[in-house]
């Protein structure tokens, strides 16, 4: 099934989207940030990214590049910009051992689970532990409980996600790629938490 189509329109708050492609330069005002997505297959990673990057849940729109690497720039209030370069990873078990190749050098890890699936929550915890052991020490981690629109099927309590995140010093949010709920907030919050290069 697709990501669904009965969607409220995109962000009410307009985010600035300067599309300067020359992301190579890393200066204090324009950050380029590698963000890696981790989590079980089917939890909604691709839908979250599409929602954030294209403002839509509908994957049928015409695009020129693949959906496994996407980038999106957001402008913050202090007139700095953050360009997220989003690295999707294959969620199937047999590729788990390859994950270090992807999260190496990442500034941000977004670990996603599905609130209707306790297994996916366990898997998320596995990734948190793995990153604590092998990720770069100053990586910003976010724990995301997706499919928050499916209240009636919820199996992971909000409090459980929150507690786990707090214990592990992570940022926590519940999102719905379907309704767009909290998607932009997720990325804005991450942007705020990024260590800023010192202006010299």
């Amino acid at each position: 099934m697709g990501c669904g189509y009965s969607l409220p329109d995109r962000d009410s708050r307009q985010l600035g989207r300067p599309n300067s492609e020359n992301g190579g330069g890393q200066d204090a005002k324009n950050l380029r940030v590698k963000l890696v997505l981790l989590g079980d297959s089917g939890v909604g990673k691709s839908c979250i990214v599409l929602r954030f990057v294209r403002g839509q849940f509908d994957p049928t729109s015409k695009v020129t590049v693949g959906a496994s690497f996407l980038s999106q720039t957001i402008a913050l209030q202090d007139s700095t910009t953050v360009k997220f370069e989003i690295w999707d990873t294959a969620g199937q078990e047999r590729y788990a051992a390859l994950a270090p190749l992807y999260y190496r050098g990442a500034a941000v890890a977004v670990i996603v689970y599905d609130i209707t699936s306790p297994e996916s929550f366990s898997k998320a915890q596995y990734w948190v532990k793995e990153l604590q052991k092998h990720g770069s020490p100053d990586i910003v981690m976010a724990l995301v409980g997706n499919k928050a629109d499916l209240h009636e099927k919820r199996e992971v309590a909000v409090q459980d996600g929150m507690d786990y995140a707090e214990k592990n010093g992570m940022f926590f949010i519940e999102t719905s790629a379907k309704t767009a709920d909290n998607i932009n907030e997720l990325f804005e919050e991450i942007a705020k938490r990024l260590p800023r290069p010192v202006i010299t």
């Binding site: 990673k45 994957p59 590049v65 693949g66 496994s68 690497f69």
Partner: protein, 379 residues
């Protein structure tokens, strides 16, 4: 990613500017850098660092050079691309697969792939049926196979990008018809499958070369992502075992075993026929070969086995033939045993038509199909 035309024009533009009299100092720096390389033994990690440092210092020099005074960022980038291509083409033999260890890894991967090729199906990697598209796969394979033919890191990298682009197009078309978002879950298995089908020459060495010598400011973002996926594909293949696939583990082992044996037989046949050819040319067995052949022998000869004694009579043999005959006898027994084992590794449905055919050709193979005792022998 630039197309090949803009790349080649940027390269010619670079050469053109380098011929300008005022570039003399740049040319001198480049030449002395290249020469300095021949003074040392290859040492990949050091060499990579030296080349990258040189790129950076040259970028500064170019930015400050009168010829590039009014240059845009894009012009500078073109010059740097030209420089990378020039330097790495000159230093290619000095920097590509410099250690025995690297070529051993290349060979091992390639051999493993050639075994996997004999039985691996898209289903074993859970590639969705909507992504089964021989035409796209073939196109992607072709792109990947080009990588080894280029010398410049940028060109090798763009072979990878082109391959990934073909796969992405396939994924996007499927996503549009199926209304599912295509992500890494679909991308990576297809890339692995394409890598196995393509068996790109010197896979490990090419990846290492790109990593070390592609300008660091260019191996970022999307290029770095797709590059990493190929590294990931290589790693998956290298570590691939019975547990890595959607396939019965015993079946996997059997297939690998059968592929290994089949390969060994082909190699042996190949080397013996070469050896025999040589022997035949060297010595004068010909007078021993005039006897009439019975149909079975003739058939074997027609099949291409090259055993000169097949036509000999005992009275034709001389003492010096004994050694050769003994050698050939041993050789045959080894091959025959391997062949029997290989046949025994096949499933019943695969084995039956083969045995039938052999029987029709009058070849008697002692395969144990009734009992399962072949498992002990083949261990």
């Amino acid at each position: 990613m630039e197309g090949s035309t803009s790349r080649s024009t940027s390269f010619h533009g670079f050469l053109h500017r380098m011929r300008h009299p005022s570039s003399i100092d740049l040319v001198r720096a480049i030449k002395s850098f290249i020469v300095s390389f021949s003074f040392y033994q290859p040492k990949p990690e050091n060499d990579g660092k030296r080349v990258q440092d040189f790129f950076l210092s040259m970028e500064v020099a170019i930015r400050n050079h009168p010829l590039w005074e009014t240059a845009t960022e894009e012009d500078i980038d073109c010059a740097m691309e030209g420089l990378e291509k020039y330097i790495m083409t000159k230093l290619f033999s000095r920097t590509f697969t410099t250690s025995l260890e690297d070529s051993k890894i290349d060979q091992e991967i390639s051999e493993k792939i050639s075994l996997l090729q004999t039985f691996l199906k898209p289903e074993h990697l859970d590639i969705q049926p909507v992504l089964h598209n021989e035409a796209s796969w073939l196109l992607a394979e072709k792109e990947l196979q080009k990588m080894n033919a280029f010398k410049a890191p940028q060109e090798k990298l763009s072979s990878i990008m082109n391959c990934c682009r073909v796969i992405n197009n396939l994924l996007l078309n499927a996503a549009m018809s199926e209304h599912v978002p295509a992500g890494a879950d679909d991308f990576l298995p297809v890339l692995i499958y394409v890598t196995i089908k393509a068996n790109p020459p010197n896979l490990h060495s090419n990846l290492k070369f790109i990593k070390l010598y592609r300008r660091q400011t260019k191996l970022i973002s999307e290029a770095e992502y797709y590059f990493t996926n190929l590294v990931s594909s290589k790693t998956f293949i290298t570590d691939l075992n019975a547990k890595s696939l959607s396939m019965d583990e015993t079946k996997f082992e059997e297939c690998m075993q059968a592929a290994k044996l089949a390969k060994k037989v082909t190699n042996e046949l190949h080397s013996t026929s070469q050896m025999k050819q040589q022997e035949k040319n060297e010595s004068n067995f010909s007078n021993k070969m005039h006897n009439k052949l019975d149909a079975r022998v003739f058939h074997v000869l027609q099949q291409g086995s090259n055993y000169p004694y097949m036509e000999a009579k005992s009275k034709d043999l001389a003492m010096e033939d004994v050694e050769i005959l003994l050698h050939q006898y041993k050789d045959l027994v080894v091959k025959y045993t391997i062949l029997c084992k290989a046949i025994n590794c096949l499933s019943v449905s695969e084995k039956e038509p083969l045995l039938l055919q052999l029987k029709m050709q009058g070849v008697d193979t002692h395969t144990n199909d009734q009992t399962n005792s072949h498992r002990d022998i083949s261990q």
